[in-house]
């Protein structure tokens, strides 16, 4: 897989004192996080820590209850949705589609922020879609119905739709959860390449070792708060993993990135 675009430099995306309340419960509160351009940052945390919520806030899909989200210094909430969508793309956790779009139609939905209302997609758009399909290894599926795809195929199609937006900041919620080992590594490699080219990529991952290996920085969430953020080697310590994930992390030697073997707490 090759990364699908020319070199771009992403705008800075930051959350200042970000918090969101839903039905009387704070899902996330007091989060200060900066996503620098050309960075791959991995968000980790136990179930219910607020990882998906964080991505929704960064994408602008959800409004903050307190604090601000800034994109290149501008308030994300004040930006017109179309304009924001051209810069920030968000792939939610995989949900089975119920409507029978073909893969190509589905990926073309990602062109919405660039389309004209009356005339729709142009041929330049279509070439771009082809490249996105190719880069995620789903060109062969282009005419298939999205309702008939396997979990792994669907995840790659979602990634293609995300690339189709040409956004500079990509927010991916557990993009590898349905992928086999090879496609999982491919996708992480693609994310790595995109970051090297100047985009910012935010990944929610469950695999801490993959997070450590591929990410420039790791953000650790626990119970709706950001408990640590920084380079993997500094952040992922046995002590923190014990506190946040309630596991015994045994470091393995012989690797640049921290690699752990996990055991349940005694």
């Amino acid at each position: 897989m090759t990364a699908a675009s020319a070199v771009t430099v992403a705008p800075r995306l930051e959350l200042v004192g970000g918090g969101v309340e839903r039905r009387g419960r704070w899902l996330l509160r007091g989060v200060d996080l900066v996503i620098e351009p050309a960075t791959l940052i991995s968000v980790v945390g136990p179930n219910g820590a607020g990882k998906s919520t964080l991505l929704r806030l960064l994408s602008g899909a959800w409004r903050l209850t307190e604090g601000r989200a800034l994109l290149g210094g501008f308030d994300l909430a004040a930006l017109p949705r179309r304009q924001a969508a051209r810069r920030v793309a968000y792939v939610p956790q995989t949900v089975r589609p119920t409507f029978e779009f073909t893969v190509r139609e589905f990926v073309t939905l990602g062109r919405y922020p660039h389309e004209s209302r009356l005339f729709g997609t142009r041929s330049a758009d279509r070439e771009w879609i082809d490249r996105c399909l190719e880069d995620t290894d789903v060109l062969a599926l282009a005419e298939r119905r999205v309702t008939t795809l396997s979990g792994g195929e669907l995840q790659r199609v979602l990634m293609a739709r995300c690339l189709a937006t040409e956004a500079e900041v990509l927010l991916l919620d557990e993009p590898t959860s349905n992928l086999d080992l090879a496609h999982g590594l491919d996708l992480l490699g693609l994310a790595r390449n995109l970051a090297c080219e100047g985009r910012s990529v935010v990944l929610v991952l469950h695999d801490l070792n993959a997070a450590a290996r591929f990410a420039d920085r790791v953000a650790v969430l626990d119970a709706g708060a950001l408990v640590a953020e920084g380079p993997p080697a500094e952040v992922l310590s046995p002590d923190l993993l014990r506190r946040v994930f309630r596991v015994l992390a045994v470091p393995l030697a012989g690797s640049a990135a921290p690699v752990f073997d996990f055991e349940p707490l005694p």
Partner: protein
């Protein structure tokens, strides 16, 4: 071009050409056939006199009256009503992300009828041509807002809640309609006409009714076209749509208004013609797929020929007596609705 059922897609332009051919065929039958047998050449002469420029021989006034003042507007109004209802249904199914949503099922048509009955029984419709459609649109938007308010939680509309809210609203509004008509029963003739109108049909509709429908149809279609792409994205859920750049609240409001304007204008003219907005968009989606830039115009055209055809049946099936158009569409649509319920049985319990 791919043409097949189910697995593949029918070509859009083939589908539209076939639909146009069907519409013209049904319209032709509607013009040439009726309870009074007419010579085909006389009918042609009347049509030529009204539609073609230049000088024409004066036609037999009796034939002229039958063809141009009775049959032609009836066909045109039927096509307009069918198109509007099917388009409104297609929009609502997209908006609620739910193939069972339609003006009839969730109470929008009944709400429109309530608005129109209100205007008629209080004598507001006498002075101003568009009073009945305007009140009908108001009734339609009110009932739509109520259903949305009840059945939608956090951007999701569970099928069961939507259907039950529709059942309750339909029952309530039907009762209101009966009460409104009953309280004007002293003017027996007027009340009888209103009750008759509400049962749904295009019998005796003239050009004036086409004129009543036209503004709503134009406005509704324009909004529908402008927001067609937003519906594609809304199918994927509000979160995804928002992240891809859709102004969710604006798009939803626009589509709700468009559906209400289309439904209200159609109901004000034809009464409640059920199941068109349910069956037609669903079938078109099966054939052409869910992309609204194709689905919406195709649904409009299909609704047009479907209702013109259904009206032909209503005129001829028990001739010389007429069956209500709403009865014919119900005969086609209700079994289809049941079929959909069975097919979607597994999903009805699922809320997301």
């Amino acid at each position: 071009m791919r043409v097949a059922f189910g697995g593949y897609r029918a070509g859009f332009w083939w589908y539209m050409a076939a639909g146009l051919a069907l519409l013209l065929t049904f319209a032709g039958i509607g013009l040439f056939r009726g309870s009074v047998p007419l010579d085909g050449r006389d009918v042609l002469a009347v049509l030529a006199r009204h539609l073609l420029p230049g000088e024409h021989d004066p036609a037999d006034p009796r034939v002229d009256a039958i063809v141009w003042s009775l049959r032609a507007p009836r066909v045109v109004v039927a096509a307009m009503v069918g198109g509007c209802l099917a388009l409104a249904g297609a929009q609502m199914q997209g908006l609620f992300r739910n193939p069972l949503a339609s003006p009839g099922i969730v109470g929008t048509s009944t709400g429109a009828a309530t608005g129109a009955v209100f205007a008629l029984t209080f004598g507001l419709a006498g002075g101003f041509l568009l009073a009945a459609p305007l009140f009908a649109v108001a009734g339609a938007i009110l009932s739509l807002l109520i259903v949305t308010r009840i059945a939608t939680r956090d951007g999701y509309t569970p099928v069961t809640t939507l259907l039950l809210a529709g059942v309750a609203l339909n029952a309530l509004l039907a009762a209101v309609n009966s009460w409104l008509i009953a309280r004007s029963w002293e003017q027996y003739e007027a009340a009888r006409r209103i009750a008759y109108w509400m049962m749904g049909g295009v019998t005796d509709r003239g050009w004036v009714h086409a004129g009543m429908l036209l503004p709503g149809m134009v406005v509704g279609c324009a909004i529908a076209v402008w927001f067609a792409r937003d519906l594609d994205l809304l199918l994927e859920g509000e979160e995804v749509a928002a992240s891809l750049g859709v102004d969710i609240e604006r798009a939803k409001r626009a589509v709700l208004w468009s559906a209400a304007i289309l439904t209200g204008s159609a109901v004000a003219v034809s009464g409640v013609v059920g199941f068109v907005g349910l069956v037609v968009p669903h079938l078109v989606r099966l054939l052409l797929g869910p992309v609204h830039r194709r689905l919406l115009p195709a649904a409009f055209l299909t609704g047009a020929w479907f209702v013109v055809g259904a009206d032909l049946l209503a005129r001829t099936v028990a001739a010389p007596q007429e069956v209500f158009l709403g009865v014919v569409t119900a005969f086609v649509g209700a079994p289809f609705f049941l079929f959909l319920l069975v097919r979607h049985e597994g999903e009805v319990a699922v809320s997301r």
